[in-house]
Amino acid sequence: MAYGNAAFTALSDPTRRRVLERLAEGPRAVGEIAEGLPVSRPAVSQHLKVLKDAGLVNDRQDGARRIYAIDPRGLGAMRAWLDQFWDVALVAFKAEVERAANDEKEDAP
């Protein structure tokens, strides 16, 4: 891997992937990120800290709010995300293709 293991490890957690995906929509405050996620706001803050330490997101102060965004070195974030994404996708693909193949066997005379 040309990019750090920290990014890869950070994205091995599905909730952190969701957090990163929320940020892919645009910069957000913690409360906005937490909306629609099945985890508490403090938990989201903790996930953001891990993502930040891994260099995947950055933050800036905006008045009383702290705004998080995907780090502009996003190539690392995107590669780490893709690495995890294809794992998840191919597990789902394998399950589906084997279900379909099995159905055909059962349908055969």
Partner: protein, 158 residues
């Protein structure tokens, strides 16, 4: 200073208990049945995903808000052996028709099943021209961090 940092391709391999024909068919025509919904990077949740089964075919998602989110298109359509897709989403997580990264999927018979090799490559094209990427490479932490990673990789490889 122009030192190109080239990210390695993402490579995956797996064996599925089905013929290459079946595997190819489910990967393409059955795309909507397995593509993870949790991984939408568009502006709204995904409703349906579409991979048009022909060279030049479109690859996109229909969103719950009625709009479409493009990913790319079909560069090579060679059933049941090989599929080459263009993934045109950049490091800014936005669709860019001018951006090319390739997803090649090869289906090979193995035993009674099929080995599926997937390679997502040319990731260096993502955001390589992006101002954000360049700015951060020049910022403290940017180059240093990347070069440290590079050094670690080089040490591993030697």
């Amino acid at each position: 200073m122009s030192l190109a940092i080239k990210p390695a391709p993402v490579k995956k391999t797996l064996v599925v208990a089905a013929t290459p024909q079946k595997a190819f068919e489910v990967f393409t025509a059955g795309f909507d049945r397995w593509w993870p919904r949790s991984h939408s990077i568009g502006e709204a949740p995904l409703q349906t995903v579409v991979l048009e089964g022909r060279q030049g075919g479109r690859w996109y998602g229909l969103l719950e808000n009625g709009r479409e989110a493009e990913w790319g298109d079909v560069l090579a359509w060679e059933p049941p052996r090989r599929l080459l897709l263009a993934w045109r989403i950049g490091a800014d997580w936005k669709y860019d028709p001018a951006l090319l990264t390739e997803v090649e999927v090869v289906f090979m018979p193995e035993g009674e099943g099929t080995r599926v090799n997937l390679e997502h490559r040319l990731l260096e094209n993502m955001g390589a021209e992006g101002e954000g990427a360049r700015a951060s490479f020049d910022s403290e932490g940017g180059w240093t961090g990347l070069l440290q990673m590079f050094a670690a990789e080089a040490a591993k490889a030697s």
